[in-house]
């Protein structure tokens, strides 16, 4: 039962790659946005907040279709990126990473925002009185103190990204070796006769990845919290 075939391995490794890239690219953006939402008041803030959360409430197929319209070869953004920077998203694994990143973004941002809101601003003031410019206050005080939340956000985002299905399959389809992630592979296997055993194997693998991510996050968060509150 546990002979994982090369095709299945391909899907597993692709999923991990897609989710890792999505998380790593989304994290700095998520931190920047979480900081703005937590600490700044600006015109259109609630609109930005709503936009971030949109992928959570829209049907995934809608998000996928919108991505296709915008980032497809003929989409305004997609055409520009392809012509000027040579970056193509449509029907490529990079597109899968983009859709996973977009779909997981609200889950990534939320814990980071909460943890930044929880950082004691008095400590930031203390850093300022010691001569720290605002960007150094952020990197020396705010970010390290918000680290447990950042890690939690990254893990939630990663878990969401690795399981993303609807938007990804709509945007970049289900091409083995290019855009076929674990989820879309399971979907295909369920559609084929005699695919049950293979599907089940992938189900087990995705469960293992998810649980490992959760345990890892818990460990990181505990260590980070300890670091913050004395040895």
């Amino acid at each position: 039962m546990f002979d994982i075939t090369p095709t299945e391995w391909t899907a597993i490794l692709l999923s991990i790659r897609v989710a890792t890239v999505a998380t790593l690219v989304a994290t700095p953006l998520g931190i920047a946005l979480a900081f703005l939402l937590a600490r700044r008041d600006f015109w259109g803030k609630s609109l930005v907040d709503a936009l971030v959360h949109l992928p959570l409430v829209l049907p995934p197929v809608v998000t996928g279709y919108l991505l296709l319209l915008a980032f497809g070869r003929r989409g305004p953004i997609g055409a520009f990126l392809a012509d000027h920077l040579g970056i193509v998203f449509a029907f490529r694994w990079t597109g899968a990473a983009l859709s996973c990143g977009v779909m997981s973004f609200p889950l990534l941002v939320r814990p980071i925002r909460l943890s930044i809101e929880a950082v004691d601003r008095k400590l930031e003031q203390a850093a300022e009185t010691l001569g720290a410019a605002p960007w150094r206050v952020f990197f020396n005080v705010t970010l390290p103190l918000a680290l447990p939340g950042v890690l939690a956000g990254m893990v939630l985002g990663f878990a969401k990204a690795i399981g993303e299905f609807g938007a990804t399959i709509t945007f970049v389809s289900n091409i083995p070796g290019e855009t076929q992630t674990i989820s879309s592979a399971i979907y295909s296997l369920i559609q084929t006769p005699d695919g049950d055993a293979a599907a089940l194997r992938l189900v087990v693998v995705s469960a293992i990845i998810a649980i490992a991510a959760l345990i890892g996050a818990e460990m990181f968060a505990r260590r980070a919290t300890q670091r913050l509150h004395g040895n």
Binding site: A127, T129, L130, G131, A133, P144, L228, G230, N231
Partner: protein, 222 residues
């Protein structure tokens, strides 16, 4: 020399304070709610006056008419808060070194030794703030502010969060600081006894207004 002439409205409450101080330790004295902390926050740049000027040694830090507001991090004014505010993720050594790093000052082992000796914190260097007592924390906060080599040191009720015994533990350090470190200080307190021991000049603050100004005798019951 510190020159302050500001007004600031904070909800129902307003501050209108004018004073000039040459003393080594300017005591800012008044009941709680008199506006002492807001005034000190304005000197530190954490709070912006609605109108007026703040200057140290002739350099304008705030001038609302000229649109001057030097940000806190460029003022080189040290601040010791009532609640120490040590960085919990850094050990004592890193806390002490923070101001030197931020101001890109050259490493000065002599000064570091003088300050750690003065405050008796040499044995705490490897600890985290979470493992310190209240009095130790306040001493480290004092050291941290001093090692940033400020041109003025603000102390906002540095003994306020401590019990009687701890106060008695810290007070001698403050006296030593006044006599040995050549940094002018603004000392905020509502405790007349503390003021008598430390201050060389008193600014008496009542409901946001300076009600008297002068030597320590201002404090005598009348």
């Amino acid at each position: 020399m510190l020159r302050v002439d500001v007004t600031k409205k904070l909800g129902e409450f307003s501050i209108e304070a004018t004073f000039e101080s040459e003393g080594r330790v300017t005591g800012l004295f008044g009941a709680s709610g008199a506006g002492k902390t807001s005034l000190v926050n304005m000197i530190a740049g954490l709070l912006r006056p609605d109108r007026g000027t703040i200057a140290i040694d002739g350099e304008l830090l705030d001038d609302t008419e000229k649109g001057i507001h030097v940000p806190t991090w460029r003022r080189r004014i040290g601040y010791v808060f009532q609640d120490a505010r040590l960085f919990p993720h850094l050990d004592v050594r890193q806390n002490l070194d923070y101001g030197r790093r931020m101001n890109a000052l050259a490493d000065d082992p002599d000064q570091r030794k003088r300050v750690t000796d003065l405050l008796d914190i040499g044995q705490l260097l490897d600890r985290r703030p979470g493992k310190l007592s209240g009095g130790e924390r306040q001493r480290v906060a004092l050291g941290r502010a001093l090692l940033a080599k400020p041109r003025l040191l603000l102390l906002d009720e540095p003994l306020g969060a401590l019990d009687e015994g701890r106060r008695a533990e810290i007070l001698p350090y403050l006296v030593r600081l006044r006599d040995e470190a050549r940094i002018p200080m603004v000392y905020v307190s509502h405790d007349a006894a503390e003021m008598r021991q430390l201050a060389t000049q008193i600014v008496l603050l009542q409901r946001g207004r300076v009600s008297s100004f002068g030597g320590v005798k201002v404090l005598s019951p009348s």
